[in-house]
């Protein structure tokens, strides 16, 4: 190439494919065993300080909040978070003091809801460091490479921009067309957290609605923790095996957590709790507000059930179901739709 680019992004989550194969051989059980556990135990076992963490779903969609709050509750530290459109969970984890580094495709913003006061404060003060930039497709294809067990994926975006210069990608000449091509390195998160609609006790999981990048991410991560709206019998999985998005051998822990995505959206089941999200965005404008929020919703409640009760209980959850189903709200109601 004529103009060699100086790439400055830090390489996060990469392993030599042979090293990772060996790790998989030694650490991932192929046995059909019951993986049910508790949120507290799953975080204790699979999210040690310093982990590289990825969260399934997208933005405020299908975020495993029970796990996210538990990471805050256990005061896990020094995490590197995959900012693959990481929005609410990243905010909460940063606010909880759990995060040191983020690789950013999209972070520190809340789409239509505006920029993140908490995330911005952390980055602009240097509390959290951005290790590099990438695009959403770029991140997605880093997981695809890892899922396939290949060292990189060729990609035709990011070329020519500062995004690629601050990334861990490389540019080479395509041996066939002779054109420059971007290679994004495989990314193997230490642990990926998902909230799914249903799975069996072994971890065979079904997701309703868009998959976003969860198919690839579940296959790329070394450890996978599932929270699920419901646990169903293995026979139900077997009766429609084409619905399994995440097969059991990828999964390390399974926890049943109804409404486990609150205040984010669980497709088909319940919509965003817009009021709660707005509350977080308001209080997180100050460090004191963040502390107060955690005192109230994380440290001040013994478990996730108590949290759900605190945010509005059955009445609220029934309402969020209605909004999901596009049931009309009275016009003066603020109910979840904004």
């Amino acid at each position: 190439m004529k103009d060699p680019i100086e790439f400055e992004g830090e390489l996060i989550g990469w392993h030599d494919p042979d090293e990772n194969r060996q790790w998989v051989r030694e650490n991932k059980s192929r046995k059909l065993v019951d993986k049910r556990t508790t949120v507290a135990e799953a975080v204790r076992r699979f999210v040690p300080d310093g982990s590289l963490v990825a969260v399934g779903g997208f933005g405020h969609i299908r975020i495993p909040m029970a796990l996210v709050y538990e990471i805050v509750r256990q005061r896990i530290r020094d995490l590197t978070v995959i900012g693959k459109t990481a929005v609410h969970e990243l905010d909460i984890l940063i606010g909880g003091g759990c995060v040191s580094r983020v690789e950013v495709a999209y972070a520190f913003g809340h789409e239509l809801r505006g920029l993140s006061p908490c995330g911005r404060r952390a980055v602009e003060s240097g509390q959290v460091r951005v290790t590099g930039e990438i695009s959403n497709a770029g991140f997605q294809w880093r997981f695809l490479a890892a899922a396939m067990g290949v060292p990189f994926m060729p990609v035709r975006s990011m070329l020519g921009t500062d995004t690629i210069k601050k990334s861990s990608a490389r540019v080479i000449e395509d041996p066939w067309s002779g054109k420059p091509i971007c290679l994004v390195p495989a990314c193997y998160p230490d642990v990926a957290l998902f909230h799914v609609h249903r799975c069996d006790q072994y971890g065979n999981a079904q997701i309703d609605g868009i998959l976003v990048e969860d198919f690839e991410l579940a296959r790329a991560a070394r450890r996978v923790i599932l929270t699920t709206e419901e646990i169903i019998p293995h026979e139900e999985i077997q009766s429609q095996p084409w619905r399994t998005t995440i097969p059991f051998y990828l999964v390390d822990a399974v926890i049943q957590v109804p409404f486990g995505a609150h205040p984010t959206e669980m497709p088909v089941r319940y919509y965003f709790d817009e009021e709660h999200i707005a509350h977080w965005l308001e209080v997180s404008k100050t460090a004191e507000g963040v502390e107060q929020y955690f005192k109230e919703y994380v440290f001040g409640v013994p478990n996730y059930e108590a949290y759900l009760e605190k945010v509005g209980g059955e009445h609220l959850l029934a309402h969020l179901k209605q909004v999901m189903n596009l049931q009309p709200d009275p016009p003066e109601s603020n109910g979840g739709v904004l």
Binding site: G57, F58, G59, H60, I61, G83, T85, V104, A105, Y106, A107, F108, G109, E111, L112, R113, L115, V123, E124, G126, V130, E133, I134, S135, N136, A137, Q140, W141, L144, V155, R156, S157, M158, L159, G160, T161, D162, T163, K166, V171, D174, K179, P180, I181, C182, G209, I210, L211, V212, E213, F215, E265, P267, V268, F272, E274, M324, L326, V337, L338
Partner: protein
């Protein structure tokens, strides 16, 4: 703009943007105004508009304004609820006619910054980053930008950070960098007018003025010199029908009210 106009600026921009989209074409949309423009086009002259969202929504009949590009409303009555890999691959393979994005700042070649204000390592303001925007502007045949606040701070000579590619440093640069050939920024819509890019120099060029806006205003609201088309036309004002539909799409004025 005339204070007595029966529409606000956002409504005008949404209509101008919607009018650019052809029936039977595909458009990859971001949240907010681009999505509203797509929804409006679909409910007026382009019922067959194929709307695509980066998180996997393909061909929905969007019932109400989604707050996120992954919102379940992005695949309501859709042809498919798929994945990011699927829609990004389709875009890279050439299926996406239009990309529709917003941007924080732009230079004369249509490069866009949504990453950082100030130095990258020590940001003055940290913005969200590329998200899917770099991919959309790399992969879609024609990218349209909606920037509500054209000023010398947003139309700048040099960007603090090039997040997403316009024509990079000029003609042929995208292809030299390895981006898909024949793509690029197509139109930029601001509060003052509509811009295209000069055929050979690939520099931003004023093409249409909104009602009441002047060439002088356009030049003053830019740090770089804006080229002028031989004939500068005036944008079409929103019709009563378009306004009615816009208020139906965003009854709470979440975007339109701004």
């Amino acid at each position: 703009m005339n204070n007595e106009a029966p529409y606000n600026l956002t409504e005008l921009l949404a209509c101008v943007a919607a009018n650019l989209l052809e029936d039977g074409s595909s458009v990859f949309v971001g949240t907010g105004l681009p999505l509203i423009a797509g929804m409006l086009a679909q409910r007026t002259h382009a019922p067959g508009l194929l709307i695509i969202f980066e998180a996997g929504g393909i061909g929905p009949q969007v019932p109400a304004l989604p707050i996120s590009v992954g919102d379940s409303r992005t695949y309501y009555h859709a042809s498919a609820a798929s994945s990011m890999h699927d829609v990004m691959s389709a875009s890279q393979a050439g299926y996406m006619d239009y990309g529709f994005l917003g941007g924080a700042a732009m230079d004369c070649f249509g490069n866009v910054n949504t990453t950082v204000i100030g130095d990258w390592s020590h940001p003055k303001v940290r913005l969200p980053g590329s998200g899917g925007a770099n991919d959309v502007s790399s992969f879609c045949w024609r990218t349209i930008y909606l920037m509500r606040q054209q000023s010398p701070r947003t139309f700048v000579k040099k960007l603090d950070f090039v997040t997403s590619p316009g024509y990079l440093d000029g003609p042929g640069a995208r292809e030299r960098a390895g981006l898909p050939a024949g793509n690029g920024p197509y139109r930029v819509i601001t509060q003052l007018g509509v811009f295209d890019f000069h055929e050979t120099s690939k520099r931003l060029r004023l093409k249409v003025l909104h009602p009441g806006a002047t060439v002088q205003q356009v030049q003053e609201a830019s740090e770089f010199e804006i080229l002028l088309a031989d004939e500068i036309t005036t944008s079409q004002e929103p019709t009563a029908e378009q306004l009615r539909i816009l208020r139906e799409i965003d009854p709470r004025g979440l975007v339109i009210g701004k």
